[in-house]
Subunit: 128 residues, 2 copies
DNA sequence: GTATTGTTTCCAGTGGCTGGAAGGTAATCA
DNA sequence: TGATTACCTTCCAGCCACTGGAAACAATAC
């Protein structure tokens, strides 16, 4: 498969597939005579795996690690679970942070009448 | 005030204050003979305002707009409220997205025994 | 007079792509 | 066969909001 074909199958932009090749995350299985990247089914699986992991918010470096575990037939599930739990904890932290922001900003917004008058509790709130 | 003094008072890194000056977000009121940036109370207020707005997740460009409204004595509160509500809506979207991620990843993690065995539903789940 | 601290500018890097230019290759159509 | 189009290559630059570091100049403390 050429890069356009596999990009479509993996549902990733061509530029991204090329980028993953550049950083050695998912390398093509070879090159054609003209220098075109050639991909096989293995790489398609990996790219789909990476797309999925990225969509869960794993960083590219974490994807690299997960890919290593994904490929290692002898690995235990312990390491993977540890990473997943870590990620879940990060998501929870972020959600709590967003909740605080949401509440504070909502409080400010609800105290602002939002009309033609100049008085604005939001700006006052932000300046303190 | 020199940059170190105002950075401390505004609770911002010196580098950030300098960066805000570079992009014209909060410019120093002048320069000393030696070329040192000089700041006054006005700039301190603006820097604190920006720090606060940034901590609420407003982008630097939005901060620029908010600063404009903050400085404009004739502005209505409508524009500010619109921006705040927009930001609240973005926060809500992000939270919903994180909630989905959290639930899906939790489901995967709970189905993984996380021991020395090789079978791992998380990896299987990510590869689909 | 010297040691330390503070400030300046400039350059480069972060993460994870994305856009675009300039040029070579392959496939399709007349 | 030639022309057009579609696809591919590399390389460079930009996004956001800083942050780190180097080299040099300025101010302050002892």
């Amino acid at each position: 498969m050429n890069i356009g074909t596999i990009a479509k199958k993996a549902d990733l932009p061509i530029k991204t597939v090329r980028y993953y090749a550049d950083i050695g995350l998912v390398s093509p299985s070879g090159r054609s005579d003209a220098g075109y990247r050639i991909y096989g089914e293995m790489e398609l699986n990996k790219l789909r795996f990476v797309r999925s992991a990225r969509s869960f918010g794993f960083t590219v470096e974490e994807c690299r690690e997960l890919l290593g575990l994904y490929e290692d037939r002898d690995r235990s599930s312990r390491d993977v679970k540890r990473m997943a739990l870590q990620r879940i904890s990060e998501i929870e932290d972020k959600m709590a942070e967003l909740q605080t922001l949401h509440d504070e900003l909502s409080r400010l917004a609800s105290s602002c009448h939002g009309d033609d008058r100049a008085d604005c509790p939001i700006l006052t709130g932000l300046s303190r």
